[in-house]
Symmetry: C2
């Protein structure tokens, strides 16, 4: 590392540069070009939206998974249309981003002719942020929903071990004058990345968010191994609902039987399931009227009286929209270890990320 880099606490990478880099490296690894494009776009888009846990920092892990053949670089998708509005996609162990976008494409196609489209996916892998898919649907003036399951991490309600995962759900709908409304949330209070960050920074976790290995609530990030669901049995129920859509409906393993992203051998296939829905807005309301009304609703909420005058009332997705605007200009900030991992890949493949900016913090 150069001295200049060592001194910089923050390194900002332009979105375009890192997107090309990820795509090019994947193509050099014989990944089919459309899949490489989806992975690159999905990770970069997520980083731009400020969701660093599911953004470009995952690329080195994805690359290892690819080289170990957890991921199939040239999958043969098998899509079966099962009714005018439904279909099943066997993703042949593709990258989750590629499998997800293929399913979204099919769901949109079904919705165009049948009013709504629902596609389940089997034999997939980690698909990154759920918002990537629901937003793609919302761009077509449809309501988009995306779901995935994940390996055990949520403490079972009244239990002392985790069984279900942080199983997220995402809902997106188009809005006038701004990007789509987008709610993308894990069903746990926190994601595990937050625990790791707090460990590194020697910070306590907020109360009621995690437990130790025996299921005892603690704010000590170093001892937290299990995450608590939102609203106790309610979040546990939501996670179970998502497990039903992604594993019971698809035949994929569930709960403790799911291959762990990091703890299991990297060559072990994950066999994850997802579920996507696209519902055409014009089948219920004039699209222009819907968008205008949604904009008004969001504006009314943002204008509600604040609890603390310095803290804005926001709706889901507002922080991500602000981050997107900022990072589209300033680039995506990465930590030094993250940058070092990328530099290693640059050298290995002889592909350059190009110009990055160094910012002192």
């Amino acid at each position: 590392m150069k001295t200049k880099e060592m001194k910089a606490r923050r390194i900002n990478i332009p979105a375009q540069a890192i997107e090309s880099f990820i795509r090019d490296v994947l193509v050099m690894e014989k990944v089919v070009s459309s899949a490489a494009g989806y992975v690159a776009r999905g990770l970069v888009n997520t980083s731009l939206r400020g969701v660093d846990s599911h953004g470009i920092r995952l690329f080195p892990h994805y690359l290892r998974a690819l080289k170990a053949r957890r991921i199939n670089p040239r999958p043969k998708y098998k899509f079966t249309k099962t009714s005018p509005s439904t279909g099943v996609l066997d993703a042949d162990h593709a990258f989750g981003h590629a499998a997800g976008m293929e399913a979204v494409r099919r769901a949109i196609e079904l919705a165009r002719s049948a009013g709504s489209g629902h596609v389940s996916v089997k034999n997939s892998s980690h698909f990154g942020a759920a918002a990537f898919y629901a937003l793609e649907i919302a761009k077509r003036d449809m309501i988009g929903m995306s779901f995935t399951h994940a390996d055990s991490l949520m403490l079972t309600h009244n239990g002392k071990e985790p069984f279900l995962g942080t199983n997220p759900l995402c809902f997106a709908a188009p809005c006038e004058g701004e990007g789509p409304f987008c709610l993308d949330m894990a069903t746990t209070m926190l994601n595990f990345n937050k625990v790791i960050q707090s460990r590194e920074r020697k910070l306590d976790l907020p109360p009621g968010t995690g437990t130790d290995k025996d299921g005892n609530v603690t704010t000590d990030a170093g001892r937290v191994t299990n995450l608590l669901p939102i609203g106790q049995y309610k979040g546990f129920g939501l996670s179970l609902m998502i497990e039903i859509l992604c594993s019971v409906l698809t035949g994929m393993p569930y709960g403790k039987k799911i291959t762990s992203m990091y703890k299991d051998p990297i060559e072990k296939r994950r066999r994850l399931g997802h579920f996507f829905s696209a519902i055409r807005i014009d089948c219920f309301e004039d699209v222009g009227t819907f968008k205008k009304r949604l904009r008004q609703l969001l504006t009314d909420i943002r204008n509600e009286p604040r609890k603390c005058k310095d803290t804005a009332v926001q709706v889901a997705g507002d922080p991500e929209k602000a981050s997107f605007r900022e990072r589209s200009v300033k680039g995506i900030p990465v930590s030094l270890p993250e940058w070092e991992a990328l530099v290693k890949i640059q050298k290995e493949y002889g592909v350059s990320i190009g110009k990055v900016k160094y910012a002192k913090t």
Copy 2:
């Protein structure tokens, strides 16, 4: 009141008796017989499932709303099929239970031919428990979902007033060897009925569930006027998602513009919206396999190690299933004030509920 009744702390009414009573009284008020049947079945079924907040105790209020013409006894539904899998129902200010079941019937019909069916409802009223509808869909070997909005009660995240309601969501799916899995939950930590009960019993509320009128968190049930969402901004986002489905998509009022169930004049129409989805399981998986797999998943969770050995690990809907079994035999318990309200209706209409059981507690 007779001495025997005054002494009894709990009165149990057989389900059949109260269902006939409710239906007969509504028919005497010129409610169309199918609607009267749905209201009676919906309220009784909900009480049997132990969800007293949304059960037969609502009947006197419903009757007042009917007599004041908030509710239209003989609605003319207008259903428009808008695509193979979607439709819009204008419920003409019917009872919410009747409007909801009409929408469910249509959603099931759409799903039979198109794989899935989605129906939005406008100009409806309070529909009781969301589970009534999703369970009806699940009986047809489909995944059932139901949503409604409600008047302002949830504290806005970072705000100091309520804007959105307790907006519930429900998801149901058929299971082998037992009733369908059913998650029916408000997006607030508690429902307001729990606050009222705690006031009556001079009990504190659990921490982090409610705030006073200035948005300050308190456990003092007497001062709680606003309810907190599950998982802070996450539950707020879920409630907003449901508001979008039920008001932005239907054209019904939202947030603070929604007529309050109790605070507004009883003759004022509520103009509520709902949203229902039915998704055929056989479009994704063999129905028998799905049900067997779901049963196994639920069993695996129930068998997870317990945190306290006396507290069972349950899944959403388990307490309701236990209550249904018990109350189907012992009858539905009502409080003395609830019983008195029913006695008054008995006298007014000359219709008898029949034999009730008195149990000392």
